[in-house]
Symmetry: C2
Subunit: 368 residues, 2 copies
Amino acid sequence: MSVVGVVGGGQLARMMIPAAINLGIDLKVFGETDVASAHLAVTQVGDYADFTQLARFAKGVDVLTFDHEHVPLEHLRALQEQGTTVFPPPQALALTQDKTVMRSALEELDVPQPLWAVIDDADDDAVSHVGNFPCIAKLPVGGYDGKGVRVVTQWSEIEDWLEKGPVLLEELVEFTRELAQLGARRPSGQWQAWPVVETRQQGGVCAQVISPAEGLNPSQASLANSLAENIADTYGVVGVLAVELFEKPSGDIVVNELAMRPHNSGHIFTEQSDTSQFEQHLRAVTDTALGSTRLRDNTGIMINLFGSAEFSTWQQCAGDFPSVKFHSYQKPSRPGRKAGHLALTGPTTAETLSEALAAEEAYKGAHS
Amino acid sequence: MSVVGVVGGGQLARMMIPAAINLGIDLKVFGETDVASAHLAVTQVGDYADFTQLARFAKGVDVLTFDHEHVPLEHLRALQEQGTTVFPPPQALALTQDKTVMRSALEELDVPQPLWAVIDDADDDAVSHVGNFPCIAKLPVGGYDGKGVRVVTQWSEIEDWLEKGPVLLEELVEFTRELAQLGARRPSGQWQAWPVVETRQQGGVCAQVISPAEGLNPSQASLANSLAENIADTYGVVGVLAVELFEKPSGDIVVNELAMRPHNSGHIFTEQSDTSQFEQHLRAVTDTALGSTRLRDNTGIMINLFGSAEFSTWQQCAGDFPSVKFHSYQKPSRPGRKAGHLALTGPTTAETLSEALAAEEAYKGAHS
């Protein structure tokens, strides 16, 4: 098991390359284009939705894994039948491809989550089941980074969605902050989690991560770990699992979303933990014992850079921030796009956050 | 300055790739073969001693740097004249290509070093100048990892060398341990050093590194840093400079060897320091402000793996050593060859060294 194939050439595949280089794993990427973010490891370019192309890529690898969650499940099931090892397996990925499948699965596991209902049309009963207006409406399939999610105060606001198919309604959870529990599972069942982090969103997109989350109630931290492990075990997740959580004013936590791959909320572990999420994902999918998730510094701060993240711009501010780590995904500049991130570790949250935010301002100033 | 060209496709070029990926620098490697250790970044394959091939490679990069020190200086001078930026520049590399040039240069700088003499034939006066037999004889050019170095008790032992050309004689220094001072310099003159490390050799080859060196006399630590900076400044070194040192029973230090590139003694900084030597080298040669060299853990241990370093073998022992980082250079197996290394950081030297040595034993056991 030393040839790992990754479907998708985005920044997550890109950041698997350093881990693969260290471990001596051959990483092959099936990219949408040969100028993909992960271009150094792209060995095939094409359309992952085309089974023939996907099957050709799968032939050359020991295990198939993913940069994103969009590969059709029927393709993955067919590959499994042909003998390809697919991690995470399709029955696990199903939870991340369709949010209604996830909600049903979590309900069966008694995992705390927002009230929810699936509707086909303007159904006042369903609204009462999730509380009342305003509530959250989600497209079950295809949403990401705030896309496919709306706060709804009346039916007319999702008329366009209802014309096309079912919509997931969720309780508008009152929360004090958002958290994420990341961990990884290998086929044998070994589970290894990182401490819970806090994620701060802007416009529905993760803007900052504070690791670990400050002052977390220990029983909630323990619940976050055990519910993530429970999901991973029950559905046979292999690789990194990210569980996004809301923390309520009571301290209770409920599950917002799931991802089964390295996740934006875990980038800081590259600097802060003994094992990065990219290394851990490769260990898991190659059925290797998982690495230590000890944190090496008290606090880690990750700040996303949107639109552009260019080394030539960072060079202008690097001198004032010798401890800040700059990460570029080498993607063409586009407003709002996650283009890179900054990472900084340090002894206290207040100081580290303040320095990281100053570095972000400096980057933006140098870029404009 | 965001396309960096590296001459040589060995493990040092390989380990620059993760740093380049993080920073968003395009790394291009001129490799001896397309299955080189740094194969992912190889863009041209050929012979670096052939000026036409080298010049073609240099055309496509903003700055030319090195995985090794063997590129003919006259080629580099010619490239400079054609407008190529070469870091470190030829006048600095000259010190690492010919040990007699280095000895003269260090003498001019009043840097402490062993007694030395250059001889053309069996010259008893010269021996008295470096103490007496036994002394050290070195081929001025082309030696590495203990090759080209002999302990000499009588002339007959280097007759074969003397037939071919001058030989460097050096005092056989009585030392308590070997140390290395690493730092980096950028064109503007900024110098940033890591703490001094201890290197332990077996058969003339570095086997282990302990970082930082324990109980180092602060005045010697300060001398090590200032002599390295002095060498770098005087000769215009750009990139990482490694100064290998002997520590005498008196606590005095003298310079053994120099290298102007990332160096085996600095691998541990990848895990232990805010900035790896590979990132620092790329920062320096692109004239970017240097990164923090703070150590994140009290102790770091690096252990070289010789002969082979295969992920499939490491998988068999990884479970017992969750904090140990395995590095493979993905080189064909060959007895005695540096094939990879293990890295471990921790709170105390004794514990960390003992765990790292146990991991080495486990690797060897799994391999045999």
